[in-house]
Amino acid sequence: MGLPLVESALQWNSGILNANRDPKNDDVEFQITRLYSRFHSLDKGENGALSREDFQRIPELAINPLGDRIINAFFPEGEDQVNFRGFMRTLAHFRPVEDNEKSKGHDASEPLNSRNNKLLFAFRLYDLDRDDKISRDELLQVLRMMVGVNISDEQLGSIADRTIQEADTNGDMSISFSEFIKVLEKVDVEQKMSIRFLH
């Protein structure tokens, strides 16, 4: 338990490394311990890593329309195991943005909970084939997951068209990540993609 915990503590703190966070360090450690025990309880195989099945065992995820997509987001491409470090790395996307981090500007290493990274996380939920574009089909798949059965395919298609059209600036009928950022620039992503207790 010792080594990965320390490592991930560093991970958790990546991008924050300023000294004046000291008073909060206790809090951070507490959070990490807490998440570690959660990780442990999810880890039914007891091998220090989570598999897809481990995630799928969470009952609420089964009824979350985007559950599988989110599970996928925890796994780096081509792998089907995620260790605690990777687990924490993904969760770090959802830390709220602190004021002092906001003002720090663009450092060499952008913290995982920056606006762009939060958006990238959301973008990846759509972008199945990882070509950095959301195609109409990919969008349709997500839409189909998220709307009720009462919406006909045709309606859904026009919703998808309209959605793409809103974002698409270069006319390739797909949404690239830069277009994605641009079209959502008014949305308060920092707030909407943050969870309070993940300080």
Partner: protein, 843 residues
């Protein structure tokens, strides 16, 4: 006029007439003179007639009698309402004033003037706002409107903060103001008054409420960001209830007397505080459920289903009042909880009716409240001056509000995801406007128990004026100066909504993965519960089925587009512009439109014209070309559906009516505006202009219009093949091609001939459809018609379309372009373009 003066002197009963007329006289210079005078004469004429009638009836059979007492009360009420609304109308005439000075403040000032007039005429304060009137007839609709139009999600997601401000903040205000005043009194700051500690507390409690009416009036004008707005607004709404409860508790203590109060009584007071406040909310929720259930089955009585909303909500208010629970809380929660379901359950028209009616009521009574806050003050009997008491009250009210807000926010920010910023806190504390509730509570004070009632009343007045007028005026500059985050007036986008949903789901999932119960867990739990149970019972099955968030947004967006589309079309005089218009409205690149092409709206108007039918406008949708030179801009399916209806409507509305149609309709459900004046002018001018033109052309010796009009058609038809080949070889956009045709015309007919043809024909046939002198009307055969049949694959480029001038002719130019190469379409076109029917048939 003199007889009516005599009539006024007869008795003070008629004084309100005088007041009303005085007001109108005062108002007239500002407002449009004509309208005002008409009112004056109308009123005085009728009164003089009445007088004559009365004089006559002294002898024999009364033909007409004057029965003022008969109608006195409702008459006066109506007159006052009119006066209030007129005052409001006058302010709105000049926006420069309302930009600086908030409307609420202006209304109070008008109230002063009116009160002064009444006082001058009557020598006593005849009119004052009675607390019963205020609480039973003026307040409920305002609160109901606020609750019904509350942004639910925002309200409930900030519920914790709002409750903290409303309950703790209000108690703090009441307690702190009361105790400090008492302390100052004991310290000798205000001489000798007959006010005890409990009375001070009572006074503090009645002043503690931030008034929703004043707050809405001021904050709606400054457009602060939505979180700030909901915090201030929600607080003001709920703390009204809290204040009334607090007031009642204090009042009970006062009548109990200081001697009898012990710990048990205090505990009882605290318990009753919560029971009353939350009991009221519970009553509201129960009535909201009843309301939802009722609207589930009002399908067959749509006309009156809107009435249910008002009656049931009002009943919730009265019931809570009857049970001595907080009526304000009840009606607030009735509105908040039921809005979602009744809006779905009711017919769309009823929803609109409810919305408008509610705004009318709320706005009206808001106006009345402010006017009467001014009028009621003009009564020397209530003015008791005590410098120390008044100034200290103002100071304490102001300071403790700031302290309370800052302290509570500091506390709340510890747990808030997005902290409330300091600047916002300043605005929040500065927005502590007091209003009608404070006044009404002050009037209710029992002069037997509270000796210094008048001092309290006049201090309350001053606090209200100070906050509403002074703070209201300075609020806007302050918001600007402090650079408070304004509400981003972003148009809502589908992708934003979609992503918001995605974010929500993601957060839920992450919480689940972390194994923690957070906000999102609660939200999701509630949503699921609502879906499963509440919707099943409270929503119509049909409404439940068609309910889908994303699709709802989509539908709404399309509706907006359609409305924009039509209004833009009205502005431009043509609906065809949309094809080439790319700014302003959201465009649709319709690549997948083939399956929708059957619902395209074809709007044709055939007007008889020398044996030729002119189609005035035809808005047709393109079948999507297989080869598109540039991306085709188009509208969505829904837009089209709407077009169908809207464009028909548009035409109907804008076609000149023959005189017959100016008749009034007596149906209850219709009323049309008679625009004949303008129309007659317009038609007359057009006629004269075109006559002039035809006269000129006749003089120039040009052949009659008829011949010419036929000639270019042939010409064009010949050219068609030309154009086609041109098009194919060069991929030439149609628009350019079109210009070529006009060149061809002028070449064949001669410059003068073309002009003559254009003007005369239009002039002869139907002047109404001749748009402007400089835009030639639409006598051409669409050259593309045959082309569209054979060669529907090339779409006009955006550039080409844009380069066309806007005129009805555009519609015809563009319309055929959208026609698919299917023959059915061409026959449709043939119907509407009779001159070319033969050619298309042949082709």
């Amino acid at each position: 006029m003199e007889s009516s003066f005599g009539c006024w002197r007869r008795g003070l009963v008629l004084m309100p007439f005088a007041t009303c007329l005085f007001l109108l006289c005062a108002v007239v210079p500002v407002c449009d003179a004509a309208a005002g005078e008409e009112d004056i004469w109308g009123v005085s004429n009728s009164s003089s007639q009445n007088t004559e009638g009365q004089e006559q009836n002294n002898s024999g059979l009364p033909i007409v009698t004057f029965r003022w007492n008969h109608v006195q009360t409702p008459f006066l009420v109506s007159v006052w309402i009119i006066v209030g609304c007129l005052a409001k109308m006058v302010f709105e005439l000049n926006h420069r004033v309302t930009n600086i000075f908030p409307e609420s403040g202006l209304l109070i000032l008008i109230g002063f003037v009116l009160g002064g007039i009444v006082w001058g005429a009557d020598k006593k304060a005849t009119f004052a706002l009675q607390p019963t009137t205020f609480f039973y007839y003026l307040l409920p609709q305002i609160i109901l409107d606020a609750g019904y139009c509350m942004p639910n999600k925002l309200f409930f997601s900030n519920m914790g903060a709002i409750l903290v401000y409303a309950v703790i903040g209000t108690c703090w205000n009441a307690g702190a103001v009361g105790i400090s005043l008492w302390g100052c009194y004991e310290g000798g700051a205000m001489g000798h008054l007959e006010i005890g500690f409990l009375q001070f507390l009572l006074f503090g409690s009645l002043l503690s409420a931030v008034d929703p009416v004043a707050v809405i009036a001021v904050f709606e004008e400054v457009h602060v960001n939505e979180v700030l707005f909901i915090l201030v607004f929600g607080e003001s709404l709920l703390n009204d209830g809290v204040t009334v409860v607090l007031y009642n508790v204090c009042d009970a203590f006062v009548s109990l007397g200081a001697a009898k109060i012990n710990a048990a009584e205090i505990i009882k007071g605290i318990i009753s505080f919560f029971v009353v406040a939350f009991g009221g909310a519970l009553v509201g929720v129960i009535f909201a459920i009843i309301l939802c259930l009722l609207t589930r089955c009002t399908k067959n009585i749509q006309i009156i289903e809107a009435g249910f909303i008002f009656v049931i909500s009002y009943l919730s208010y009265l019931t809570a009042e009857m049970l001595s629970l907080s009526a304000i809380m009840a009606i607030t929660f009735c509105g908040v909880c039921s809005q979602k379901y009744i809006n779905v359950n009711m017919d769309e028209r009823s929803v609109n009716t409810v919305r408008y009616a509610m705004k009318v009521f709320a706005n009206g009574s808001e106006t009345m409240i402010f006017v009467f806050l001014g009028i009621s003050a003009i009564d020397p009997a209530i003015w008791v001056w005590n410098t120390g008491f008044i100034l200290l009250t103002l100071l304490f009210v102001f300071v403790y509000r700031i302290m309370g807000v800052f302290f509570l926010t500091w506390f709340l920010n510890k747990t808030r995801l997005v902290p409330v910023e300091t600047i916002e806190q300043v605005i929040m504390s500065y927005g502590g406007l007091r209003g009608g509730v404070a006044y009404a509570l002050a009037t209710v004070l029992d002069p037997v128990k509270i000796k210094e009632k008048n001092l309290m009343l006049c201090t309350t007045f001053l606090v209200i004026y100070f906050t509403v007028v002074l703070q209201g005026v300075t609020m806007k500059p302050l918001v600007k100066w402090l650079k408070v985050k304004r509400s981003a007036q972003s148009e809502l986008k589908l992708i934003e909504k979609l992503n918001n949903r995605t974010f929500e789901h993601t957060l839920c999932a992450v919480e689940d993965i972390c194994g923690r119960i957070g906000d999102n867990w609660w939200i999701r739990g509630w949503n699921r519960f609502e879906q499963k149970w509440i919707c099943r019972y409270l929503m119509k099955p049909s409404a439940r089925k068609s309910q889908d968030y994303l699709f709802g947004v989509f539908h709404q967006l399309n509706l907006e587009d359609a409305v924009n589309y039509v209004s833009e079309g009205e502005r431009r005089g043509s609906l065809a512009f949309m094809r080439s218009e790319d700014a302003a409205s959201v465009d649709f690149k319709k690549k997948f439109g083939t399956d929708m092409s059957d619902i395209m709206p074809d709007i044709m108007v055939n007007t008889d014209f020398n044996g030729l039918d002119v189609s005035m406008s035809s808005v047709t949708r393109e079948s999507v070309p297989s080869v598109s030179l540039e991306i085709h801009e188009n509208d969505t399916k829904n837009l089209r559906n709407n077009n169908d209806v809207n464009v028909h409507h548009l035409l109907q509305q804008h076609l000149y009516k023959s005189r017959k149609h100016h008749r009034h309709k007596y149906s209850r459900s219709h009323f049309s505006i008679n625009q004949s004046e303008d129309e007659v002018q317009e038609i007359f001018q057009r006629t004269m202009r075109s006559r002039l033109e035809s006269f000129k052309s006749a003089k120039m010796g040009v052949a009659p219009a008829k011949k010419i009009s036929k000639h270019p058609q042939k010409d064009r038809q010949q050219k068609m093949s030309n154009g086609k080949s041109l098009d194919k070889s060069k991929a030439h956009p149609y628009g350019d091609e079109d210009f070529e045709f006009s060149d061809g015309n002028s070449a064949s007919g001669g410059e003068a001939a073309t002009h003559a043809f254009l003007y005369t024909t239009a002039g002869i046939v139907n002047r109404a459809f001749m748009p402007e002198m400089d835009t030639p009307p639409t006598m051409r055969t669409p050259p593309w018609l045959s082309q569209a049949e054979t060669d529907g694959s090339v779409a006009p480029s955006q550039r080409a379309q844009r380069s066309l001038p806007w005129s009805p002719s555009n519609i015809r130019r563009l319309a055929p372009l959208r026609i698919s190469n299917r023959s059915t379409d061409s026959f449709i076109m043939a119907d509407c373009f009779p001159p070319t029917a033969s050619s298309s048939g042949v082709a």
